[in-house]
Symmetry: C2
Subunit: 593 residues, 2 copies
């Protein structure tokens, strides 16, 4: 097996084209074995095998610097740069992250997870090299839907001005996570169809030189192209035509589903190709599916409702079949979160009702649009923020726990934190009807929870917290998905210290219920806030400030401000003293019990 002999890119350079072709096969087998056992980004890596081998054959990493956009397609790069064992040896599968990672290897230059960043970051390497009279090629590898992101387009536009060695490989696999959206992809198609000869050329229009490789999964063709541009004295785009998922039939067939995979049985999956998918009778009991179905039902009643996604429709419940059912009342803008928020504001200004579903980690890409385009204009768009939780994605670039400070400090925004299915859908329906303010809902993460308690249908009188149980001495504010933790803490306080604690569901992240908080001062000594996110800039600090000049003690719980990577959720919660036992213990200590 050639792969076993590859300890660095130098070992790739020793191979003949034929041997590299064999290596590519081994790489795919290795990927299939690991990803079927472990899960991971499937299609992007299967599509970029040959290009990665050819890059390392032609260029001299790390003197030549390759920067992968999103970097979920850097598995092959890792295999070729001293990290093959983390793919070959199941015991070592978790030794490498799923993204490029500076700490792992001198061949990785940035920790990257969000899209559309590579051209700008690599442009910085170019400028830094030139300032210091350095040498070596800088190569950005971008594609897989990332081109439509504003940062990528800003970077491409600026690249021309660098006027020096800079190679931008556009890995055109014709897909984003879902299908591509945006006019520029029609231009890529025209370029593919004309084998790069189409005179109308987005990249040239941005001032860049351009070359095209039709066989983007052919090592020999790629080597030839890369050799031609190596050591070039100006910026150039190398547009390569690749097949996402190449080499595994199910992934070639359903590219969206195979963008990322959970563990699976490769043989059974292969056999199942062509079988008619059984129609699902029931809507799965999860927030995304139920939300999308609810919205589609409401769309039929109200033509003004339109769901918006920005490149990640599936996690918001809009799988292809539902997108088809929603028709013109569903819009995927592609990876373009800034545009999504502004578009939503415009749609709301026109009197219709946009519902933008977005993951917590990606709403970060729209702060200025939330503030300027949406909230200053106070347009009643509805945002559904998914996966906002410490228990959600745990790659450092994809953690979902900064959305509370990001959103809740913007004036005019109403950010709601439902605690269970019933409350969530009541808030969702209210959000659909609301005409006064932009509303965001932090969709609970994980399994649905339920409640028999009646829920309100009208949330227009802002910042009213709900007292779930009125006790005394201690009041626990369990925000959104941490309401259950609050219940557990209260139960422990009762059990261990006989304290009948007050339990409150704040519901509104964006404001303080001053009247209720004042009423607690009569017979409470301690208020405890629990939020499923980072503490700094968040909800609890506002409660602490409110009580700053009173005698009330305040204990604020959440994650401390740090970038956490691939953490074990249970351990992470424990480190942040976020278990019911730890919290109850802290409370009793403060009360002197």
């Amino acid at each position: 097996m050639y792969l076993e002999t590859i300890n660095s890119p130098a070992d790739v350079k020793k191979l003949s084209v034929e041997q590299m072709n064999e290596l590519c096969g081994e790489i795919r087998q290795t990927l299939l074995k690991k990803l079927s056992a472990h899960g991971g980004h499937f299609g992007p890596n299967f599509g970029i095998v040959e290009a990665t081998v050819a890059l390392h054959y032609v260029f001299n990493s790390p003197e030549d610097k390759i920067v992968f956009d999103v970097s979920h397609q850097s598995y092959v790069h890792k295999m070729l740069t001293g990290r093959k064992d983390a793919f070959l040896n199941p015991a070592l599968y978790d030794e490498v992250s799923g993204y490029s990672e500076v700490k792992e290897s001198p061949h990785d230059f940035f920790t990257i997870g969000h899209t559309s960043t590579s051209v700008s970051l690599a442009g910085g390497l170019v400028k830094g090299r030139d300032l210091q009279g350095g040498t070596g090629n800088v190569i950005a590898v971008i594609g897989d839907g990332s081109l439509s992101g504003g940062e990528a387009l800003e970077g491409l536009d600026f690249a021309a001005e660098l006027g020096t060695n800079f190679i931008i490989v556009v890995n055109d696999n014709q897909m984003s996570i879902a299908e591509n959206h945006g006019g520029l992809y029609a231009n890529l198609k025209a370029l593919r169809q004309s084998k790069g000869k189409e005179p109308l050329n987005l990249f040239r229009a941005m001032g860049l030189d351009y070359t095209y490789v039709d066989e983007g999964n052919n090592v020999e063709a790629l080597i030839e192209a890369f050799q031609k541009v190596k050591d070039i004295d100006h910026p150039i785009v190398v547009h390569i035509n690749t097949l996402k998922g190449k080499g595994y039939a199910p992934a070639e067939k359903d590219k969206e589903q195979w963008h990322y995979c959970a563990p699976f049985d490769p043989e059974a999956t292969l056999r199942a190709i062509g079988e008619t998918q059984k129609e699902r009778q029931e809507i799965p009991e999860d927030y995304a599916a139920q939300t999308a179905e609810y919205l589609i039902k409401r769309m039929r009643e109200d033509p003004r409702i339109v769901a918006i996604a920005s490149g990640t429709p599936a996690p918001t419940g809009f799988l292809p079949e539902r997108r088809a059912r929603a028709g013109k009342q569903f819009v995927d803008v592609g990876i373009a979160e800034e545009h999504a928020v502004a578009l939503a504001s415009g749609i709301a200004a026109a009197g219709a009702k946009p519902v933008y579903g977005v993951l917590s980690t990606f709403i970060q890409r729209s702060y200025d649009q939330l503030s300027q385009d949406l909230c200053i204009n106070n347009n009643p768009a509805l945002l559904l923020v998914y996966w906002g939780s410490l228990s959600s994605m745990n790659d450092v670039t994809h953690t979902c726990f900064f959305d509370i400070p990001l959103i809740c400090n913007i004036p005019n925004m109403v950010y709601l934190a439902p605690t269970c299915k019933e409350e969530y859908f009541a808030m969702l329906e209210w959000g659909l009807q609301e005409r006064e303010h932009p509303v965001a809902i932090r969709v609970p993460f994980g399994k649905m929870t339920y409640s028999d308690e009646p829920v309100e249908t009208d949330y227009s009188q802002l910042n009213r917290y709900k007292v779930a149980h009125r006790g005394s001495r201690v009041a626990v504010l369990g925000l959104g998905s941490f309401f259950g933790l609050g219940q557990a803490v209260c139960a422990l306080l009762k059990e261990k210290a006989g304290i009948d604690a007050t339990l409150i569901n704040p519901r509104y992240i964006t404001g303080v219920d001053k009247k209720l908080l004042a009423s607690l001062e009569v017979d409470h000594q301690l208020v405890v806030t629990l939020e499923d996110g980072v503490i700094d800039g968040g909800f609890g600090e506002k409660i602490a400030r409110h009580y700053g000049t009173s005698d009330m003690k305040v204990l604020v719980y959440g994650a401390k401000k740090e970038f956490a990577d691939r953490y074990n959720v249970k351990e992470f919660l424990r480190q942040n003293r976020l278990t019911d036992g730890q919290i109850a213990e802290d409370i009793m200590k403060i009360l002197g019990l």
Copy 2:
């Protein structure tokens, strides 16, 4: 005077071309009179007079909806839509804002101040119209450097997919605030030179139809072009070639200086054209000029230092002459703040030292890049955040008081708040040397202040606050530009209540000096925090949280969370109880004095 008869666009439609040409002359005279007395955006409005008249002649606002990007060029639009008196009558000059404003007129659809938003916002109006089976044209007017912003490029890319009536007027005045940057502007030039016939066409490459108007300051030509695209059934770009500052010779000559003007004497200014500018002997005693000079000096000693601007070089001290002196060690990326941050991260990763100067209101456009591209990678770029203050710009879209919550809650970032010139330059020099962390400095706003106190040169041991005076009972934490307010409060406390208050200069916005705060508990009852920004998510709340379970009382001062527009600074500070007298009064009340 025709202008006096224009009460709505209907009155424009009554005029002949000849009369409209006269109207244009009147508009320019009116603008000259108002802006020379009042100040405002000069060049952008002088350049777009004819286009605005033609738009209102051809289209039927507000049924047809015109959305101006940045909207600092909407003065003429305001004159033609019932707001002429705010330009003709000096007593009413302040009756209208300098931007499009929903509250002023049904002809304004959004409150807009940041760039690059119009295509997405107008795209929302298009989608909202179509969902409801509405009619009417939607027109976005973009230009003046805004095209290079990521949101605009995302919006253009998406516009093609709308597939219905949408007119995007690209007002190509060949300028940003400073000169244009980015490869796409070379394409605009080629399009101008070929009278729109150049086959390489950025807009077509993004899937949009395209037409060109060479005489963008000719009413008749514009009317003809707009009539052709009126009621079109698909998205189209109308590229118009205009002259920024047209009609006032000094503004045509020095477009950057005349982008915005303070009040001036129009006759004297005209006479002065062609006179050799006297060489300035001294560097003005302001933070921007002194910073740029300092950086240029340091660039000569260290080729790795590079200053970055994103379309607003002048407010960061980089006037054209200094840009020329800095040479390759100065980069203006154009309006592309996301790219600027990522570029800085890349340059730092390459071992050089980027210094990105940016206004507080615009750093908002880069949250995800600050978090992902810069801080996760912990690259030692240096950011200089200018104008961060409640006393800075007061248009709602340009307020500069959200940068503290935006920046200070991002892990790894070190955000420093110097209190005077000496401390600022010590921090700046330290920031240039720092290799461990990204550093941002909140450059003090307004007149320089000075101090005789020795300042530290090394800030690498993080989160150490400096005790300026050790007293007892009350401790005042005066952050950055509010340190002077802290001094005044302490003086008042001494004078009025005989309290010898402790005064602290926190220096570090991003962290809490736990040891120092703990030491205050011995002989202090009250800690007061003062920050020159919004309270929510900011510095003071962290201090309140720190003391949450202690007996220390905490009073947090700053602006309350709201969008404030065109406020009187003194009045605004008073409303937020931010005068020394109010704060001293509050303190004495809490202490029962």
